[in-house]
């Protein structure tokens, strides 16, 4: 990164231009595939967000407009700075614009006016909203009109059910362009489940399942409070795909129970909490699917081989040889980049949110 230069908002473009001109003798290409607006409060998650962005531009360079808000600031302020970001490595073949907007207290009102002229004409604008969307809605509602894709971070919300309700109530008309970072984290599991239950016999077993048990990892991590979100996403995704309707949810000691109604029966979901050091908080460690006639499929990750997922299936007659799936190294920025650029619009996420918003968690 070329060190930041603090400039007044009116000079952002011209100062960026000067920096690029200073590069003219080097073999560095300016590459801005789209504009990414990032919003975060000044808190302990900020570095995580910045790492994700750095990770993202490795894959797809873009103009970053990074808004950092300090709501509890003693005074109003709005400061802007420019720099050039490049992927790590010695050779700076590709680099992109980075514009920082630091804002305190009521000056948040001004931000949308600062942002508007900075969008790259003709190219898509994406919005990464790294705070609870229910908290600061004014700027969000302005920026959402500019964005072709809106990425939330449900981790910042109080709970996934309120988050889902808020999104479904306020963004319904934009449902085809929404995504959540926690949703991206479940992509591997969703793909594996989809693949494992691909054949009609296996799918039949899933649709007739009587209970499903999930084990979720919880370990001390100040950046993860809502460690159950990924598990909820997977369960409510299955429910939305198989047309299960939510009936009730309760917590007994450390175990969460959810009951869904199916066409002629019901299915009980149990979420147990584990603590394993090698996994991240919120990671799903195990899924067990139980059906009639002793049919059972277990998906399990082990500490000795965290990137592998073993699948064991059996019934009263036979026990099949286990097989393995591979979990990819999770680089959030790369997943995010794929989501923005290469993934087509899918309604699986919003159908899942819709199912989650049926839950009243009060």
């Amino acid at each position: 990164m070329i060190s930041q230069k603090i400039v007044p908002p009116a000079k952002i473009e011209s100062e960026l231009q000067k920096i690029w001109e200073s590069f003219s003798k080097e073999d560095t290409n300016k590459a801005n595939l789209f504009t990414l607006i990032v919003y975060s409060e000044r808190n302990n998650r900020l570095n995580l967000v910045r790492d994700t962005i750095q990770n993202l531009i490795e894959k797809f360079p873009c103009r970053i407009i990074f808004i950092t808000y300090e709501p509890e600031s003693k005074e109003n302020y709005l400061k802007t700075a420019v720099s050039i970001l490049s992927p790590p490595g010695e050779q700076k073949e590709v680099a992109c614009d980075s514009i920082d907007i630091g804002v305190g207290k009521d000056d948040i009102e001004k931000v949308r006016y600062v942002v508007l002229p900075l969008l790259i004409p003709d190219l898509p604008v994406h919005l990464l909203w790294c705070e609870d969307p229910c908290k600061e809605t004014k700027l969000l509602f302005h920026l959402k009109e500019l964005a072709s894709k809106i990425i939330f971070d449900s981790e910042t919300s109080n709970n996934i059910f309120d988050f889902s309700k808020f999104i479904m109530n306020n963004f319904k008309c934009r449902e085809s362009c929404l995504v959540d970072l926690n949703w991206l984290k479940t992509e591997d599991f969703r793909d594996i489940l989809s693949s494992e239950f691909y054949e009609s016999e296996k799918l039949k077993m899933l649709t007739s399942a009587t209970s499903i048990t999930l084990n979720v990892n919880q370990k001390e991590n100040p950046l993860v409070r809502n460690f159950l979100i990924q598990a909820y996403y997977v369960i409510f995704w299955i429910a939305s795909r198989l047309d299960w309707s939510y009936k009730e949810k309760k917590i007994e000691e450390n175990t969460h129970h959810i009951l869904f109604n199916k066409s002629s029966s019901s299915i009980r979901i149990t979420i147990n909490i584990d603590e394993k050091k090698v996994f991240n908080s919120g990671d799903i460690l195990k899924i067990q699917v139980f059906a009639d006639e002793g049919n059972e499929i277990i998906f399990e990750r082990s500490e000795s081989q965290p990137e592998a997922l073993k699948v064991d299936s059996s019934n009263t007659q036979q026990c099949y040889l286990p097989h393995h799936f591979k979990f990819e190294k999770f680089e959030l920025g790369h997943f995010l980049a794929n989501e923005m650029i290469t993934q087509p619009i899918s309604n699986h996420f919003t159908k899942t949110l819709s199912k989650l918003s049926d839950v009243n968690d009060n």
């Binding site: 290409n29 300016k30 590459a31 595939l33 894959k59 797809f60 360079p61 073949e93 590709v94 969703r190 793909d191 594996i192 489940l193 989809s194 693949s195 239950f197 691909y198 054949e199 799918l203 299955i238 795909r241 198989l242 081989q305 990137e307 592998a308 040889l321 097989h323 393995h324 799936f325 591979k326 990819e328 190294k329 993934q343 087509p344 619009i345 899918s346 699986h348």
Partner: protein, 512 residues
């Protein structure tokens, strides 16, 4: 099992993710192509999560080798040849468990029987579902034999079966029209056209696929893509290397069979085709065939005036002294094989009436470059053209490799009180936007085959039509030995006759 779009868990938009499980069987597993291209391609596909989750790969070759020997060799090859380096040890430790080796002679019935048993074991262990791709990375003489044996031993299913089997065949597909037809007949006895995937790796290149996007997803170009606006088209496939260790192969094939008849004709078809009705395999390939069918047949006069062949002498390439073709290993010192070809084509259809397509390809040229250049007609000369000083024509250059991208040459006013006009370039470079390491062509093609999409593979009528164009030229050459071979210095842009070919039309080759 074929894809069922009604599957509730499947995200129909994410077509890549829920592709059928399968096993890829590579015949010729100890060969150069497997080492340099195929295994690195499979590794990168796996690493980037494009392969089906239940996937295995079996290398078949004649040499004795254990699974571990094969895995170790492939690890070295990935480290050396993969576009992503160094090898990701974490990923590899898991991935290599899905790589296997099977020793067999290509004509041994026992070998195919044991392969069948081995593949069944893999199916049950790795849930690969019985679906199979056979990649024939072997000399073409083995194609009919291997396909016949695969069919005989039940390794190839009928197209109507629930499980699928597909066969990928490397070029060259025949030596001329007759041999290509014969090979086609031999293959067709055992497998259907839908099961046959004739690979032309040029079609797997991102920049080649982008030609379709460029032409048909940008409305401004299609309206001027015709004889009214385009003056001529130049296609260049230049290599700075010589024949390297392929002397024996080259003596048999020559440059025209090696790259012109296949790769360059693919480029020509894509640049000249009509918009397809859809992007299906039939839609695209039908239009490509029509272009080849419209190529004006060569007459005796054309063999002399529209076709040029050359062979390199010694010279200097990249500052290094290089030897003449006739002194290369396994090459006859009296060889008359061409290492350079330039041809002027006309496509006799409505769109391209009277527009010449000049193509040139060669070895030991000054640099490695593949480019398609569309040269537009001059603007009316009433305003900015001065006496004796015509403006440069607009040129749209599509660079296939290296430095992939698209540039447009336009005329621009030089700042100042007078108004001299200077050509400038608007440049789009792939690397600047999408990184320096686009997926290798083989990655895309293997993936397309797993997906059962043959759009990027050559269809039999396409191959035969191309041979129909080139066989008379090759026969003429065979009957009329070149009198001036070797006729161009290494490190130059080919023989003088190539310059004359285009000069007599008052045009010149682009300086690349």
């Amino acid at each position: 099992m074929q894809k069922d779009n009604s599957h509730p868990l499947e995200d129909s938009e994410k077509i890549v993710k829920s592709i059928d499980p399968c096993t890829l069987v590579i015949f010729g597993a100890t060969g150069d192509l497997t080492a340099r291209k195929l295994i690195p391609a499979i590794y990168n596909l796996g690493k980037e999560r494009h392969l089906p989750t239940n996937f295995a790969c079996v290398g078949v070759a004649r040499r004795e080798k254990s699974h571990d020997d094969f895995r170790n060799d492939m690890e070295e090859n990935i480290d050396k040849f993969s576009r992503t380096k160094p090898i990701d040890k974490g990923f590899w430790s898991n991935f290599k468990e899905r790589l296997f080796y099977h020793q067999s002679q290509f004509d041994s019935d026992e070998g195919y029987e044991s392969l069948k048993i081995f593949l069944s074991e893999i199916d049950s262990k790795h849930a690969t579902g019985g679906n199979r791709i056979f990649y024939l990375s072997v000399q073409p003489k083995f194609f009919p034999l291997i396909i016949e044996k695969l069919k005989k031993h039940g390794l190839i299913y009928n197209p109507s079966d629930e499980k699928w089997s597909r066969v990928i065949i490397e070029k060259p597909f025949g030596k001329d029209l007759d041999s290509a037809k014969e090979l086609q007949n031999q293959i067709q006895e055992h497998i259907s056209e839908e099961q046959t995937y004739r690979i032309d790796h040029y079609l797997g290149k991102e920049t080649v696929q982008n030609i379709l996007v460029f032409r048909f997803a940008n409305s401004i170009f299609e309206s001027i893509w015709n004889y009214k606006h385009i003056e001529h088209v130049q296609i260049t496939v230049a290599e700075d290397i010589g024949v390297e260790n392929r002397g024996e192969f080259f003596e048999e094939e020559g440059l025209t069979r090696d790259i012109i008849q296949n790769h360059m004709m693919q480029l020509l078809s894509i640049i000249a085709m009509e918009p397809p009705v859809d992007l299906s395999e039939k839609g695209v390939r039908d239009e490509k065939v029509k272009v080849l069918q419209s190529v004006r047949p060569f007459t005796e006069d054309d063999f002399k005036n529209s076709v040029v062949r050359g062979q390199y002498k010694g010279g200097f390439v990249n500052g290094e002294k290089v030897k003449p073709y006739r002194e290369e290993d396994e090459v006859s010192d009296k060889s008359n094989i061409e290492t350079f070809t330039a041809i002027r084509f006309f496509i006799d259809n409505w769109r391209w009436d009277g527009v010449p397509f000049y193509i040139r390809g060669g070895k030991r040229l000054p640099k490695k470059v593949t480019e398609i250049a569309v040269i537009f007609k001059d603007s009316p000369g009433v305003l900015f053209q001065h006496k004796d000083n015509k403006n440069e024509p607009n040129v749209l250059a599509i660079r296939i490799q290296p430095d992939e991208g698209i540039s447009m040459k336009i005329n621009c006013k030089v700042p100042g009180p007078s108004s001299p006009i200077q050509p400038v370039k608007m440049d789009f470079r792939y690397g600047a936007y999408f990184g320096k390491a686009p997926p290798e062509a083989y990655e895309r093609l293997i993936l397309e085959c797993i997906n059962g999409d043959s759009t990027l593979f050559a269809r039999s009528d396409e191959v035969l039509q191309s041979w129909k164009i080139f066989t008379p030229i090759l026969e003429y050459w065979e009957a009329n030995s070149p009198k001036d071979f070797p006729n161009y210095e290494s490190g130059t842009w080919g023989p003088k006759s190539a310059d004359e070919l285009i000069k007599k039309d008052n045009r010149s080759w682009r300086k690349l």
